[in-house]
């Protein structure tokens, strides 16, 4: 009675749960030849059609039907917010409830006072994750005061905590249901799929429509952004519980509730702790972005500084975000790791005593009134701005050359081609190549999505965004595969880079804009650079893992047949790691899109700018909402076209 064990699913940053692509079957030679021919013919047809039908690429009108429609929706909502039963009895109560939650958390955290909160976080860190983490938390939270960002940091923490509480409250039960009830899982899966490819920006506009701007909308948007990870990872953990243990407990006469509370949940607790960790990281990343819809906190500092292209001013806030991310990540990761440790009764008793002592200490300390402004302050604004100035002075030729070279040599031609493509040709091409690459199922979703982009009246901006994404993803893949291959072949290098990758994956996406802006000012190229920095780490990981997963026996066989290292790489390792590479491309493209959109804030324009402008200017609301929708559709097109890789080829299970 042996069953083949499926490869374990991988937890990805962003809470994606990836079940390994089935990549063992290589398409038959004839099928491969045929699809090559078809691809060539299709490409030729597309080029000819483009040359014949190309348009002049007119700029988007600011008064498209879609915009007017969304504007009228907004007007209707504004007019009926206090009368329509949907708002009166539904959404307004949600808003009120979330407001109460946020106020409650805020009161609790600020009630502790500066000293009390620092002590409490340090105590939580020490009890849950060990004294080292406690010290880290202590230092990190003191640093908020030193940086002069205490209130903003607490605001960000309040929003994050509220959103995480909501996510866990909703996500964990849903995750359990998804794992246990077949139809719930089957219904949730496609919904979660779409939610996870939605760039952060896309969530904001609908939230402002329903919940106005401010904290409740920010918390709900954050919750929606983070909860798929909670659900997925919880479901994964519950689904992974050893069926033998469940069967044994059933055979002893456990009720369903006993099975859940005494077997499934305890056995999945490490994974659920990881789910909470991922939820926190995603929530923090989103909370920063909700500054755009007027949520308080560190994000405000970054947004205003970025809009003035003042890197130094943004740096302190960015540093505070990074510190907050590291502290929260360390506490939750180490706490998750510690759930595996077996404790004796005595150790458990000591732990409870520790908890008690820490609690009492935190309460006592909170009585001490320390004003964070009394701390010795330090700001990195001036030195960082000096550095940026120095870079501008000395590297101007190099950075400017690179920026202009890529912009004029690569980005502009692609953009021109895409913008001047008639929309129907684009849709047809998406359908045709989608079918070819990913199978008809993907094409059936991708082609209508492409048509939807055209229908929104934002053709030019969408194609500009797409061009930026394409350039960024090519750079990301080139860099990511190169580094990944290097890491897979040099263990010491890999060991050195790994902590860097780990750290990179805990950073909220906003932070990545800072170095890009510092080097290249505000431009489309800045968004590309930020997107590449943002997306390269996960690509490196996936590539390295794919290469390392090549069975050592195969490598040994190839070596004993006399392969050179280069032949080994090109003829054995890379082809066999195909699944990992394609997965990396898919991941990379989704992340790049998210970042390019955020880049709209620093001069990349196009859809990202439309969305952001929609929040600040009332008359642009319709356009902003349409742009958000266009981003979602673009995401779906790109994801379907690349995700199909590993679904269409290889054996179906």
């Amino acid at each position: 009675m042996t069953a083949t064990v499926p490869p374990p699913p991988v937890l990805q940053p962003g809470g994606r749960v990836l079940t390994a692509a089935s990549d063992t079957a290589v398409p038959g030679r004839r099928g491969w030849l045929r699809s090559r021919t078809v691809a060539a013919v299709l490409a030729a047809v597309t080029v000819v059609a483009y040359l014949v039908f190309r348009t002049d690429g007119a700029a988007d009108s600011s008064d498209a039907a879609a915009f007017r429609f969304f504007d009228s929706v907004r007007d209707w909502v504004d007019a009926n917010r206090d009368t329509s039963p949907v708002f009166l009895y539904g959404l307004n109560y949600v808003r009120l409830g979330v407001r109460l939650l946020v106020d409650g958390v805020h009161a609790a955290l600020t009630g502790l006072g500066f000293a009390g909160l620092v002590a409490a976080v340090a105590a939580i860190g020490a009890v849950l994750a060990g004294w080292r983490t406690g010290l880290l938390a202590l230092g990190g939270f003191l640093a908020f005061g030193v940086l002069g960002l205490w209130e903003q940091s607490v605001d960000t923490l309040v929003l994050t905590v509220s959103a995480v509480l909501l996510s866990v409250l909703i996500g964990v039960p849903l995750g359990i249901l998804a794992a246990r009830v077949r139809w719930v899982g089957a219904t949730l899966r496609p919904v979660l799929d779409v939610m996870q490819i939605m760039p952060t920006f896309a969530y904001l506009a609908p939230m402002t429509l329903l919940f106005l701007i401010g904290e409740p909308a920010a918390v709900i948007a954050t919750m929606i952004y983070a909860v798929p990870a909670t659900i997925r990872i919880t479901a994964l953990g519950i689904g992974e519980v050893s069926p033998t243990a469940v069967e044994a407990a059933t055979a002893l006469g456990s009720t369903r509730w006993q099975l859940l509370s005494k077997v499934r949940l305890p056995m999945a607790r490490t994974t659920i702790a990881l789910a909470v960790n991922q939820t926190i990281m995603l929530a923090l990343s989103m909370v920063v972005i909700t500054a755009l819809i007027d949520a308080p906190g560190l994000g405000q500092n970054i947004v205003s500084a970025l809009q003035r292209v003042n890197v130094g001013a943004a740096f302190d806030a960015g540093l505070a975000i990074v510190i907050l991310a590291v502290v929260l990540d360390r506490i939750t990761t180490n706490a998750a790791r510690r759930t595996r440790v077996h404790r004796t009764d005595q150790q458990r008793r000591w732990r409870w005593i520790g908890v008690g002592v820490a609690l009492v200490a935190a309460v006592l300390i909170s009585v001490i009134k320390v004003n964070p402004e009394d701390l010795p302050g330090y700001s990195f604004a001036a030195p960082v701005n000096d550095l940026v100035g120095w870079i501008e002075l000395h590297w101007y030729d190099a950075t400017e050359g690179l920026k202009n070279g890529i912009s004029a040599g690569v980005l502009d031609p692609i953009e021109t081609v895409l913008v001047t493509t008639p929309w129907w040709l684009f849709v047809a091409a998406v359908a045709a190549f989608g079918t070819l690459i990913s199978g008809w199922r993907a094409a059936v979703i991708a082609a209508p999505a492409a048509a939807g982009i055209a229908g929104l009246g934002l053709w030019q901006h969408s194609m500009q965004t797409l061009a930026t994404v394409l350039v960024a993803i090519v750079l990301t893949m080139a860099l990511g595969v190169a580094i990944g291959v290097f890491c897979a072949r040099h263990d010491r290098l890999a060991a050195g880079i790994r902590p860097l990758l780990d750290a990179a994956q805990t950073m909220p996406s906003f932070v990545y804009l800072l170095p890009a802006v510092a080097l290249f000012g505000a431009s489309r190229f800045t968004a590309i650079v930020a997107a590449v920095i943002f997306a390269v780490p996960p690509v490196v990981r996936l590539v390295e893992r794919g290469l390392r997963d090549v069975p050592p026996t195969v490598v040994e066989a190839a070596l004993s047949a006399g392969s050179t290292p280069r032949q080994l790489l090109w003829k054995v390792q890379l082809p066999m790691a195909r699944g990992g590479l394609l997965l990396a491309a898919n991941q990379g493209i989704v992340m790049v899109l998210a970042m390019v959109v955020v880049g709209g804030l620093v001069g990349a324009g196009a859809l990202g700018y439309d969305v952001a402008a929609g929040f600040s200017q009332r008359e642009l609301f319709g356009q902003g909402l349409a742009a958000g929708l266009a981003i979602v559709l673009l995401g779906i097109v790109l994801d379907r076209l690349t995700q199909g890789f590993h679904h269409s080829k290889g054996p179906r299970r």
């Binding site: 009675m1 243990a245 069967e247 044994a248 055979a251 002893l252 006469g253 005494k262 077997v263």
Partner: protein
């Protein structure tokens, strides 16, 4: 103790349409292509007597694990009757079924199925805990049971700190803790090393002698079946091929499948004299001391070869036949020779 009649378990789409129709007569392969269904247990009937060790043997895929899970409805049977202690299992509601699993029938699993987040003591006490027994009481009972399986002093270890053999002792203790009438073993020792397996088999024999439970034991290992089983049921493609004592299986295989199975079993270790004795020739003189017909051949070797005359084989007072070296030697030498029934 356990009575199973006409038990079927069919996996697949609309499984209930198979039983009692011409479809049921199809071979497994045909059934699969025609309906997409798999009959894991087909038309199985047997009785297990109180206090008996009943072994179900078959190759992997023969449906033996499914069969044993049907007994307490861990897998819901498609049709047929099961009664345990005279009560129909299939008629039980969820509550009564839980009672059955909690108090009457316990199970030991191939891959142990221990709870990794609980120390050994709480693993053993799990069954008592879910019945609502107070902590002190269940810990006392669990400690006693652990002593019974030779795991004193390991109470506070965690399962992953124990060797495979010790983990299975925990599994055994857990099953014994609720003091059930019946113990089901699903290939409990297949995952263990051969030496440890032998220890564990001895352990089961000892426990059976000490506590006298009814045991249903699933295995794919013929040697294990022969050592442990009072009676053995051979399962093939979900159907019962033969039910009998070890020597019936070895001496009188029901068909070529069973014969193939037992071909390499040393006959002299399993068969008793009954299987090889001959009728006494008229006026033949025998040794004074007769042998019981239940003597295993191997144990008779010494006496038979030493004596000049044949030895009588008796059942109490009644003389059944005689035996001498001519009968004994072929049974000792050859595993393949067809032994007359």
């Amino acid at each position: 103790m356990i009575a199973v009649a006409d038990l079927w378990k069919v996996f697949g789409p609309r499984a209930d349409r198979v039983v009692g129709t011409p479809l049921a007569e199809l071979s497994p392969g045909e059934l699969r292509t025609r309906t997409g269904c798999l009959a894991a247990v087909r038309d199985v009937s047997f009785d297990v007597r109180p206090g008996e060790v009943f072994v179900v043997m078959g190759l992997s895929g023969s449906g033996k694990s499914t069969l044993v899970r049907c007994l307490t409805r861990l897998i819901e049977p498609t049709s047929g009757e099961i009664s345990i202690g005279g009560e129909s299992v299939r008629a039980m509601g969820p509550k009564r079924l839980r009672e059955l699993r909690r108090r009457q029938v316990a199970m030991v699993f191939q891959h142990f199925g221990l709870l990794p987040h609980r120390p050994v003591l709480d693993n053993v006490a799990y069954g008592l805990e879910i019945q609502g027994m107070p902590r002190a009481e269940r810990h006392r009972r669990a400690t006693e049971t652990l002593a019974l399986v030779g795991l004193e002093g390991q109470e506070h270890q965690y399962p992953d700190q124990l060797s495979g053999g010790m983990q299975q002792r925990v599994g055994l203790a857990r099953a014994l803790a609720g003091d059930p009438e019946v113990l089901l073993f699903d290939e409990p020792f297949s995952a263990l090393d051969p030496l440890i397996r032998r220890d564990m088999q001895a352990e089961v024999r000892r426990l059976h002698a000490e506590v006298g439970k009814t045991l249903v034991f699933i295995t794919h290992d013929l040697a294990e079946a022969l050592t442990l089983g009072d009676r053995i049921a051979v399962l093939r493609d979900g159907g019962l091929v033969q039910v009998g004592t070890p020597e019936e299986l070895v001496g009188a295989p029901a068909d070529s499948y069973v014969a193939d199975f037992v071909r390499d079993v040393p006959r002299s270790d399993v068969l008793t004299l009954r299987w090889i004795m001959r009728d006494p020739a008229p006026g033949e003189l025998c040794e004074d001391e007769p042998l019981s017909h239940r003597t295993v051949i191997r144990d008779a070797v010494h006496r038979v070869l030493r004596s000049d005359r044949p030895i009588a084989v008796v059942d109490g007072r009644e003389r059944l036949g005689v035996i001498d070296a001519d009968q004994l030697l072929p049974a000792l030498i050859s595993h393949h020779r067809q032994v007359p029934a």
